[in-house]
């Protein structure tokens, strides 16, 4: 199966890329998984779990020991269990937030480039913050209402409102600023921190209103999304890249494909593309919007 590999035939000289001494530019994107799981940090999980479990146990005791008829108890049980789950998550929020405030007093989270080293407090506290936030987000995303993870993001200081959707993606929960109506595709990775060799890079990501991120794309730290920007699926931005307003970007690394006409106005016609024949046909198409609601369409109402 290796014989049909076309790249086997390339000369060795072609592979010799110049060993540039000063080439420290980070023009590639890696990942930001925690480089090691500090078991000592896990000690923090146990009190969080215990205390929030205690609150839930108290409520459960009150419900079970109450003198109401057992039929009525059974009837309300599903609702009660759901609210207990929410209570558990909410109290673990609370304890996490308390611990986070204490931790942030010890070391203020800041942007920059840090060495991956146990002596660097910035790196150690970054790891600690990530692990603390992880538990709450894990609970929220594993219960039957995963959309509520926006709540956790808001609690941890990320500017975001409920018009955005990000529960199918890997999203860092610090140094990100969301606008309104943002859609993050399935499996996309939004990193505000990145591990490159022996260095940790933390840089803020800003997403302006109505920006859209395609499935499985990767956003590097420091990326800025303009208003109405679309990033296609399977595309990657590099460090500190700025995507302009109203453009559609794609490919690796992200480059301009075309103007985002869908944002300009919602025309009454759409394009049909015949990929095999490489031709585009314009097709008349009615938008299913009532006449009296057309004024709510973006931009078109202004003109």
């Amino acid at each position: 199966m290796e014989n049909d590999n076309l790249d086997d035939n390339i000369n060795p000289e072609e592979q010799n890329i110049k060993d540039n001494e000063d080439d420290f530019s980070i023009d590639f994107t890696t990942s930001s998984a925690i480089s090691s799981v500090g078991i000592k940090f896990l000690i923090l999980y146990i009190p969080i779990f215990w205390f929030s479990g205690l609150v839930v146990a108290t409520f459960w005791y009150g419900y079970a020991a109450g003198t109401t008829n057992w039929i009525i108890k059974l009837l309300y049980l599903p609702l009660f269990l759901l609210s207990l789950m929410f209570l558990f998550i909410f109290t673990s929020f609370f304890f996490c937030k308390l611990l986070l405030i204490l931790i942030n007093l010890m070391c203020v989270p800041k942007e920059g480039i840090f060495r991956i080293d146990t002596k660097d407090p910035n790196f150690e506290f970054w790891k600690l913050r990530i692990e603390l936030k992880k538990i709450v987000l894990w609970f929220l995303r594993n219960w039957p209402l995963p959309w509520l993870d926006v709540l956790a993001f808001r609690f941890f200081g990320v500017k975001i409102d409920f018009s955005s959707h990000l529960n199918d993606a890997w999203v860092d929960c610090e140094f990100i600023e969301f606008g309104k109506n943002i859609t993050v595709g399935q499996g996309a990775v939004l990193m505000s921190s990145m591990v490159v060799g022996n260095y940790l890079i933390i840089k803020k990501i800003t997403l302006d209103d109505f920006s859209l991120i395609g499935g499985q794309s990767t956003i590097a730290p420091g990326t800025h999304f303009g208003k109405d920007t679309v990033l296609g699926a399977v595309s990657v931005t590099t460090l500190n890249q700025i995507l302009e307003d109203g453009w559609i970007y794609g490919s690796i690394p992200a480059r301009k494909l075309k103007l985002n006409k869908y944002a300009e106005e919602r025309t009454a016609s759409i394009h049909k593309v015949d990929v095999d024949g490489e031709e585009k046909v314009e097709v008349e198409h009615d938008i299913n919007i009532d006449e009296d609601k057309r004024k709510f369409l973006r931009r078109s109402s202004k003109e």
């Binding site: 199966m1 076309l6 790249d7 890329i17 060993d19 540039n20 000063d22 420290f24 980070i26 590639f28 994107t29 890696t30 990942s31 930001s32 998984a33 480089s35 090691s36 799981v37 078991i39 896990l42 999980y45 779990f49 929030s52 479990g53 205690l54 146990a57 005791y61 480039i113 992880k134 987000l137 894990w138 609970f139 995303r141 594993n142 995963p146 529960n167 199918d168 993606a169 890997w170 999203v171 860092d172 929960c173 399935q186 499996g187 990775v189 591990v195 490159v196 060799g197 022996n198 260095y199 890079i201 990767t218 399977v234 990657v236 590099t238 690394p253 480059r255 494909l257 075309k258 490489e278």
Partner: protein, 312 residues
């Protein structure tokens, strides 16, 4: 980093169930696994339950639940390990290319192993403390250390060897077995110390990644590809992009420089791609003669001209 629940990442076992009778063993394992946890709950009940004042019972209940979960995971790992030992005595797992057919002994046992391992890996990954995954890896013969972070991608649970301080990116796939057409290929994947694997990278069986190398996002490797140590790799199949200097002591001012020359960056990526593409076209022209209508579409031997129509 928040892991999306819908992606179901973690250590993976291929979802192949060649024979339905494997399910009997699987369900038996689940049964055996849950018993120790129940025993623990019973003992706790006997010791602490008091009808009049059940305060102690409720105070330590959350801690007990953690303990029960961890014992369940341990029981699952141990019972699966024992089952695997018996299976491996019957048929030793080995590398190679096998026929993907029920009659092939290796394919059947590969499927059986993966079916059994699914329960403990699923159980250990459904726990917010990620270190249980590591125990799973170690029990099933993957050499790894606690300094690795392999929890946000899919990592195969046999024939993989890791060094120290490996970072596996979000949604990366590290596999040691692959099905191509009618064949099953199992080869050992070796990843050495300090390798940084980017997000969404796909690593095929038999890949050997040398020390201190970095893989760019969305790059992928071929079956049996060797990556030298100390380089940054890019593209699919992965090729040398530049020398990796990020493990040295660099003054931090040099790193903070902005990527100002964006056109140059695009060119750098394109050159690598174009070089590959030209070589491919050259080979295509020489060896295979594609049909005429197809040749027009591939732009063989002539330049693209109508590509900028989308701009307006």
């Amino acid at each position: 980093m928040s892991v999306p629940n819908s992606m179901r990442v973690g250590p993976f076992c291929a979802s192949v169930l060649v024979k339905r009778k494997y399910l009997i063993l699987y369900i038996f394992l689940i049964w055996v696994t849950i018993l120790p946890g129940l025993l623990e709950l019973w003992a706790y009940w006997q010791v602490l339950w008091n009808d009049v004042r059940p305060l102690h019972f409720y105070v330590y209940l959350p801690l007990l639940l953690i303990a029960i979960y961890i014992t369940t995971v341990f029981a699952a790992i141990i019972s699966t390990k024992i089952a695997l030992m018996f299976i491996n005595i019957l048929h030793k797992p080995k590398e190679g290319v096998f026929l993907r057919d029920r009659s092939d002994r290796d394919y059947r046992y590969w499927s059986l192993r993966n079916t059994i391992k699914k329960w403990p890996t699923w159980l250990s990954h459904k726990f917010p403390f990620p270190f249980l995954d590591n125990l799973c890896f170690k029990a099933f013969g993957v050499r790894t250390t606690f300094s690795n972070s392999l929890f946000e991608g899919w990592v195969d649970t046999e024939f993989v060897t890791f060094g120290k301080n490996v970072v596996c990116g979000q949604g990366a796939i590290i596999q040691s077995s692959v099905i191509i057409g009618n064949f099953l290929i199992i080869r050992k994947t070796v990843i050495e110390d300090n390798v940084r694997i980017g997000a969404h990278v796909i690593i095929m069986p038999g890949t050997h990644i040398g020390k201190n190398s970095i893989l760019n996002t969305w790059s992928s490797t071929m079956v049996g590809q060797e990556l030298e140590e100390g380089w940054i790799y890019n593209g699919g199949p992965a090729k040398k992009f530049k020398k990796n200097r990020f493990f040295e002591d660099i003054p931090i001012e040099k790193l903070t420089r902005e990527v100002g020359d964006y056109e140059g960056l695009l060119k750098k990526y394109d050159e690598q791609y174009v070089k590959r593409e030209v070589k491919k076209r050259h080979l295509l022209e020489k060896t295979i003669k594609p049909p005429l209508h197809l040749r027009d579409r591939l732009h063989l031997g002539k330049d693209k001209d109508n590509d900028t129509d989308d701009e307006n």
